[in-house]
Subunit: 102 residues, 2 copies
């Protein structure tokens, strides 16, 4: 599996708009096992995204999906900065589907 | 929802042992929607844990579950440090169950 943990800062007052775009765009991405969008509890502009994919190739391919490129274009003007992104290898736990067909 | 993103460092050579304990302990925690254990891709000792709960109370209560207290006791000697933990409010995305009964 391939995982990403990252944050971004929305332009003041637009966090909910960015979240709405992100959550709508990610419902049908081949190879995506989990994509959780969350508000930071301390900073009113920060959004955390944690992702689990079957492999890196599926993640990279998702960036070319029409729904995703459209979402990136729509959200980008409302994002002021990106935090460091951590790349992980998820190995287990709870709540991940055993497999997901492409 | 209530979310946590955090990391820990295993004692050198014991990361897989810590991961085995963590992944076994988390399979039956009431109110837990997702608990993903992942290896950092750059640091050979670092483990990332990303959690989604229905609410904070469920998370706090989980720390008293026999399976969890046992896991903490077993893993603690093999953990050298904990990173900063981020508290979030997950708001949506993909891969979370709509609801999970207690």
């Amino acid at each position: 599996m391939y995982g990403l943990i990252g944050s971004m800062s929305a332009v003041s007052g637009r966090r909910d708009d960015v979240i709405a775009i992100l959550t709508e765009a990610v419902s049908n991405m081949p190879g995506c096992l989990s994509y959780v969008v969350a508000k930071d509890s301390e900073d009113e502009n920060t959004i955390w995204v944690t992702e689990v994919w079957d492999n890196k190739e599926s993640h990279d391919a998702s960036l070319s999906l029409p729904s995703v490129t459209k979402a990136i274009s729509a959200a980008r003007p409302m994002i002021s900065a990106f935090g460091n992104q951590v790349i992980t290898t998820p190995v287990g736990g709870y709540g991940l589907p055993a497999t997901k067909p492409h």
